[in-house]
């Protein structure tokens, strides 16, 4: 099956105020099948938000895409004209951000904001627009879409605002939705409701999804595959269950070991020290040679200091960038 998205050898950097170029993504490479949900797992500084922004060329002015291709349905987004890009953003690829309050207009009713998202891409007459807006809101608010439509963002809870963003994001039935930490500011119950909504919508409309998060547990039972990002590189990529139950990259292993065991229902385990990953994430502006995880890796070898590992297949769908598995 032809992938809906192919990211090939993507290199992105930022210009520091000094003029120095600071790398943020290096050699990022992955595919996405139509209707697939890919979880991008990364901590602060891993480059996950840079990845989301790069795919749609929404980097800030000091960001630079140095190399690579982002093929969406055969079009290289990195070379698309501004007019084409405008049609694709929101129309065929949507982006949902972490903080709904900063993406919603504070003095417009939310129904109007969802209509605007539709009208930006589809020339519809007023009554069709009103009808379609109503349908969209009913999809995300099964119970009280009418009342919500007339509300202002500040009158809604965090979860409700996020649902409004989702309604805007799916308005034009995009083939791909990129969600950057969409549930980070929500409590677990609301979080689960939003994930369930995403799942229903992706299945109903055949949308592919990239869900970016720092919380591995969120991806269980939700994402089809997980891509682990560390220091702007793809450390590991594979089916969710495989990556979470038998992680191969030392970083993924160490990260999953940090989580409190669910649940510590024995006194002996409770209040014990949790595993930590020694050291800190690397300062990429130092352009260190070798594997970026090497200083913190308990399995490091001599070669790790000098060269960067390329991805190697540990099984048919599972790829790891680590010299332990190099051919």
């Amino acid at each position: 099956m032809t992938p809906i998205l192919e990211v090939q050898n993507l290199h992105v950097a930022y210009f520091a105020p000094t003029g120095q170029l600071c790398p943020a993504l290096a050699g990022v490479h992955f595919d996405l099948a139509p209707g697939e949900i890919l979880g991008v797992l990364g901590e602060s500084g891993s480059g996950k938000s840079t990845l989301a922004a790069s795919l749609l060329r929404l980097l800030p002015s000091n960001g630079k895409i140095q190399q690579g291709k982002v093929l969406f349905d055969g079009i290289n987004l990195l070379e698309a004209s501004p007019q084409n890009l405008r049609k694709i953003r929101g129309g065929r690829i949507s982006l949902i951000v972490q903080e709904p309050s900063s993406s919603l207009h504070p003095t417009l009713q939310v129904g109007r904001q969802v209509s605007d998202a539709l009208a930006a891409h589809k020339p519809l007459d007023r009554s069709t627009l009103r009808e379609k807006t109503g349908q969209l809101l009913s999809t995300v608010f099964p119970a009280d879409a009418e009342r919500i439509s007339r509300s202002y963002p500040h009158e809604l809870s965090g979860g409700q605002r996020q649902r409004v963003l989702i309604a805007q994001a799916i308005a034009c039935r995009p083939s791909l939705v990129i969600a950057d930490e969409p549930t980070a500011s929500l409590d677990p119950t609301t979080q689960q409701e939003i994930l369930l909504l995403f799942r229903t919508l992706t299945q109903k409309f055949g949308m592919a999804m990239i869900l970016i998060t720092h919380n591995p547990a969120l991806l269980t039972g939700f994402a089809d595959r997980i891509l682990v990002l560390y220091a702007g590189r793809v450390a590991e990529i594979g089916p969710t269950a495989t990556v979470l139950s038998s992680p191969q990259h030392p970083y993924t292993e160490a990260l999953l070991r940090c989580l409190p065991s669910h649940f510590a229902d024995e006194r002996s385990v409770r209040k014990a020290r949790l595993h930590v990953i020694a050291g800190d994430p690397p300062d990429l502006s130092l352009h260190a040679k070798g594997c970026q995880f090497e200083p913190r890796c308990t399995d490091r070898m001599e070669i790790c200091k000098c060269d960067e590992p390329a991805g190697a297949a540990v099984s048919e769908l599972h790829n790891v960038a680590c010299f332990k598995f190099a051919g």
């Binding site: 901590e43 602060s44 809870s157 965090g158 979860g159 980070a184 929500l186 409590d187 677990p188 119950t189 609301t190 979080q191 689960q192 720092h214 919380n215 591995p216 547990a217 969120l218 269980t220 039972g221 979470l244 160490a254 990260l255 999953l256 940090c258 989580l259 409190p260 065991s261 669910h262 649940f263 510590a264 229902d265 024995e266 006194r267 409770r270 209040k271 020290r273 949790l274 595993h275 930590v276 990953i277 800190d280």
Partner: protein, 269 residues
Amino acid sequence: MQPLLRIENLVKHYAAGRSASSRDKLAALDGVSLSIAPQTTLALLGKSGSGKSTLALCIACLERPTSGSIWFEGVGVTALAESERRRVRPQIQLVFQDPASSLNPRWTALEIVSEPLLVQQRFTKQERIEKTHTLLDRVALPRKMASRRPDELSGGQKQRLAIARALALEPKLIILDEALSALDCSVQAQISNLLLDLQSSLGLTYLFITHDFAMAAHLADQIAVMDRGRIVESGLTEKILSFPCHQATRSLLAATPSLAETQNVLVEL
């Protein structure tokens, strides 16, 4: 043993309508009672809007409850005059979820941590600097960080700074209001270890407000669940995890994402 903190029937109303003089009242706290034994951790869980942060503010004497009582070390706090409450406040400190909005962005780490010492007017400048350095050591922040501003620190470092500031006046009780929620998983582990170390070395008591049942289960001796301004279930951690009774507890447990889907602690809703 006398509890460090005891609360009985605490009620807090806010005016709910659009005008300040509106008769409509929102009961943020609707009769809350709980107690925390010294040198233990109580985790307070509940959905957004259940009243957890309002409870934190009342306990820290930053909001006056509408009715009900709070005892701290056996002394009734709610009836005290402001001048007396001022003496209680240093013993109850807060660490918030978002260090970016609770740390002055224009001050250095040194200034932030020594501010409580300055306000108390009990220490010379040299004493303040020495105490601040000791506090930074306690939270494992290298001393060279003392001259940095918050935006030069990582999320974990900012939270360590917030904890150092909370320790400045040698409190007995620290209220952690979602203090780990905004941190990466590996950093949460580091801060969790720090909190446990500080609890055992300084004899601290924690009220740990969180959404995260897994972290609550890890850190807390007791768990209390809030729903719509009331405590609906409370008890020893082991008991709450094994036999959750109230619907609010069960939904929180069921909603907590877990790595091991096969783990069978959860009760079917």
